[in-house]
């Protein structure tokens, strides 16, 4: 045991462990900015991830290629080469048509809401590489005017908020991440407020802190309340799937199916000019003239 305390490697490990614990503590909450190393790492990955996304878009996704492989093999055996070529061409065209539809919906949504908010469209180029955090990387960053905490949406509803920004990419913390909480209300009653947070399975959400007397039932539409000071009010979050009573009997919770399909998230809109209404942002009264 005494030999262990004289061992330099042992003390080195202890020091590394303490520094690492300190790092975990300091990075467990939201930081103002990411470090240079993180910026460089993310910007190194960005072009590679963009290429994969572009390739996937071009071939309408590796999943569909593999899932259709067996079918295509049968088709090739049965049909002439010309028919197979046309099938492939159709597949590409369908993907392009789907992309045009998505982009048209984005443009329409932007045009209809430009009087409300200034929005910047971005493409999702990567997803979180592990299961603990639910994030995506988009191809717009500080250079394009994106800042931390800006709300991210799609025409279908709320996506999340900007967690950190590098030069040309931004990390979006999705609302399905268990660390994100969104102030929410029911579109039908408006008076029922609660907090929506992420669950792990199937990208579901959970609305908590609903008073026991609140009128909440399946198929109720959940929208942002604007109380969280990050997200603008009135944006769709999801639809109530089921309601359950909390163990204390005083509160209810509801499982919410998000309106956005996070598995197929390809383009998003970042609201770049939302200023939450707080005491600090309200227009100050005119100062009284100083007495001479």
């Amino acid at each position: 045991m005494r030999g262990l305390f004289k061992n330099k490697v042992f003390w080195f490990c202890i020091v590394v462990l303490i520094i690492t614990f300190f790092l975990i503590r300091n990075t467990s909450s939201e930081r103002e900015d990411i470090t240079l190393v993180e910026r460089m790492l993310r910007d190194t990955y960005a072009p590679l991830q963009s290429s994969v996304t572009e390739l996937r878009d071009y071939f309408s996704g590796p999943r569909s290629i593999f899932s259709q492989k067996a079918d295509l093999n049968q088709t090739i055996a049965q049909l002439e080469k010309e028919v197979a070529r046309l099938n492939l061409e159709n597949q590409v065209l369908r993907e392009q048509e789907a992309e045009v539809k998505r982009l048209r919906a984005l443009v329409n949504f932007m045009n209809n809401n430009l009087d409300k908010y200034q929005m910047s469209a971005a493409r999702v180029i990567a997803r979180s590489p592990n299961n603990w955090l639910k994030t995506v990387i988009i191809d717009k960053g500080a250079v394009e005017g994106i800042e931390k905490n800006m709300p991210v949406i799609t025409p279908k509803g709320l996506v999340g908020r900007i967690g950190s920004v590098s030069e040309h990419t931004s990390q979006v913390n999705l609302i399905t991440d268990r660390e994100i909480a969104v102030g929410a209300t029911l579109q039908r009653s408006r008076s029922t407020s609660g907090v929506v947070e992420g669950m792990v399975e199937g990208n579901l959400l959970k609305m908590i802190n609903i008073p026991y007397y609140a009128s909440v039932k399946p198929d109720d539409v959940v929208i942002t309340s604007g109380l969280s000071q990050v997200f603008p009010p009135g944006i769709d979050i999801g639809v109530v799937y089921e309601v359950s009573e909390e163990p204390n009997g005083l509160l209810l919770s509801a499982t919410v199916i998000p309106t956005v399909n996070f598995d197929k998230l390809e383009e998003v809109l970042v609201i770049t000019d939302y200023i939450p209404v707080t005491e600090e942002t309200t227009v100050p009264e005119e100062p009284m003239a100083e007495e001479e």
């Binding site: 690492t20 975990i24 990075t27 190393v37 997803r127 590489p129 592990n130 299961n131 955090l133 792990v200």
Partner: protein, 167 residues
């Protein structure tokens, strides 16, 4: 050259997990390829090198994620250490050992991750779904480990991944 390749493996693993594997998630669960490589490294090179490699690989993942920096570094370093110690260098050439080590390493890594995050007072929420996710990841990792281990072992013994001091 081999050091560069050993760094490129977790670099590519993070890249694949953030792109390609995103399309093949089982109920939203991704495999942990970085962990798979850390376990392989520990099985082949032993506990001490496995610890250092695990720490660096985990740190790379943490820096990319940008939150709870150090959590993956510690959990993967300890996983590397314990897998290297417990495996003891026996039957390394057998791919079943590689798959078993990854199975054990996945559960170990998740347990250490949970413990360290609690000790560090990180505001990380755990629920039943978190543990279900670990089971999916366990299956996914083992499926990947079985075919990958043969290649990794050969490459570490006679190929590009062989460390110079072993020549």
């Amino acid at each position: 050259m081999h050091y560069l390749l050993h760094f490129l493996l977790p670099f590519m693993a993070v890249f694949l997990q953030s792109t390609v594997f995103g399309f093949y998630a089982i109920k939203g669960t991704l495999p942990d390829l970085v962990l798979v490589f850390v376990v392989f490294f520990s099985v082949i090179h032993g506990a001490a090198p496995g610890t250092a490699y695990g720490f660096l690989c985990g740190l790379l993942e943490d820096l990319y994620l940008g939150r709870f920096i150090g959590l993956n570094a510690i959990s993967k370093a300890l996983t590397g250490f314990l897998v290297g110690k417990l495996q003891g260098g026996f039957f390394r050439e057998n791919f079943i050992i590689g798959a078993l080590a990854v199975a054990f390493g996945t559960l170990l890594n998740a347990s250490i991750f949970l413990l360290v995050s609690r000790l560090a007072f990180a505001s990380f929420h755990f629920d039943q779904q978190f543990f279900i996710g670990i089971i999916y990841q366990f299956i996914y990792n083992v499926i990947l480990a079985a075919p990958l281990y043969g290649w990794y072992y050969r490459s570490s013994r006679i190929g590009l991944l062989r460390l110079s001091r072993e020549k």
